[in-house]
């Protein structure tokens, strides 16, 4: 596992930060972001897939009334891919419309989806070697979040009550701040020494004006807000060269 990883720097990973507005579709936006990122990494081709297709064609058919990331992946598998955001744009209204998937050409598809182990080291390893993954967290602290690294405890953020899906884009460490004795001798406030803090970089779906340009950071290594509860990712692979086989006589 490298010490830092940031898929935002990969050229073909989509940079757009989505805004779900009043539509409860974080699960669809996280899944779409996961597929777009993996497609960009594997195929070196930037795509924007349709979130509205995930809402309209979901087996539960409840549009903006919530859902789960695994439902989004099942929809992609059932539809053999997803149309582009341009062809099948996001409306974000409350009513699910009739599924329009067959009217549009698919621009990205997945082979499968998997749930990773609930272990932050394993998640970091997978993230670093494959690409961004979706996670579902307790979003309580995000209501008042502006910037910086959130370091929650189970008391301030219950890791068992997870209710918001986002995209895990990378990880890193803050720089450590040393105690500055000169400041104290001059009568200034003594800066509290601060060790470097390991963090996750997460992409939210509340628009680019929220948080750190649409992103936020959470402490890594303490299962902050239940980040390890549902680490899911699609599998996007280039088709392997088919080996010709023949039946033994």
């Amino acid at each position: 596992v490298p010490s830092t990883c940031d898929w935002r720097k990969w050229a073909e990973v989509t940079k757009t930060v989505r805004n779900q507005n009043n539509c409860k579709c974080c699960w669809a936006m996280a899944a779409a972001g996961n597929i777009e990122a993996l497609w960009g990494i594997k195929h070196r081709q930037s795509v924007e897939v349709s979130v509205q297709e995930l809402l309209d064609c979901n087996r539960c058919g409840n549009g903006c009334n919530g859902g789960f990331v695994w439902d989004a992946f099942i929809t992609v598998l059932n539809n053999s891919g997803l149309a582009s955001e341009k062809d099948y744009p996001f409306r974000g209204d409350d009513k699910a419309q009739k599924c329009q998937a067959k009217k549009h050409k698919n621009v990205a598809w997945i082979q499968d989806f998997i749930m990773l182990m609930d272990n932050e080291q394993a998640i970091a390893s997978h993230l670093a070697t494959h690409g961004p993954i979706t996670v579902t967290i307790n979003m309580k602290l995000l209501q008042h979040y502006q910037e910086g690294v959130i370091r929650a405890t189970p008391t301030t953020c219950n890791p068992n009550l997870v209710d918001h899906s986002v995209l895990l884009m990378g990880f890193g460490k803050t720089k450590s701040v040393a105690r500055m004795p000169a400041e104290a001798s001059q009568g200034g406030a003594l800066t509290r020494p601060r060790r470097s803090t390991p963090y996750w970089i997460l992409k939210n779906s509340w628009g680019p004006k929220w948080g750190e340009k649409g992103y936020f950071r959470m402490h890594r290594g303490s299962n902050a807000c239940g980040i390890t509860k549902y680490p899911l990712t699609a599998r996007v692979d280039k088709p392997a060269k088919q080996l010709s086989v023949s039946c033994p006589p």
């Binding site: 974080c26 695994w70 749930m115 309580k140 602290l141 910086g148 959130i150 370091r151």
Partner: protein, 104 residues
């Protein structure tokens, strides 16, 4: 009382002024004076909570005024969360753990 605004300034701003700035920044208007008063009350409570989070936080996070500062915790969860996830993922094969290798 008065609350310090997010932007550094020479004088602390009155709560109502901070709320007006919030309304301008996030383009918020309310249907009636009573709704305005209710949202102002929620806003004040949220600023208190943000301040408390700021004091309790062990990381480097900053908490304060956000686009959701006029929503109650319940409204925020209702509008932006999805339903609470179940105990386990339905219809998804369980994780493979090394201990199970070799078992039938």
């Amino acid at each position: 009382g008065s609350l310090r605004a997010q932007a550094p300034g020479p004088q602390p701003l009155e709560l109502k002024e901070v709320f007006t700035l919030f309304q301008i920044q996030y383009n918020r208007s309310y249907s009636s004076p009573s709704e305005h008063a209710r949202r102002l009350h929620i806003f004040a409570r949220n600023l208190d909570q943000a301040q408390q989070l700021q004091e309790e936080d062990l990381g480097t996070a900053k908490f304060g005024v956000t686009p959701f500062s006029d929503l109650t915790e319940e409204e925020f969860a209702q509008v932006y969360g999805h339903q609470e996830a179940p105990g386990r993922v339905p219809n998804v094969s369980s994780k493979v753990v090394p201990e199970e290798w070799g078992k039938s």
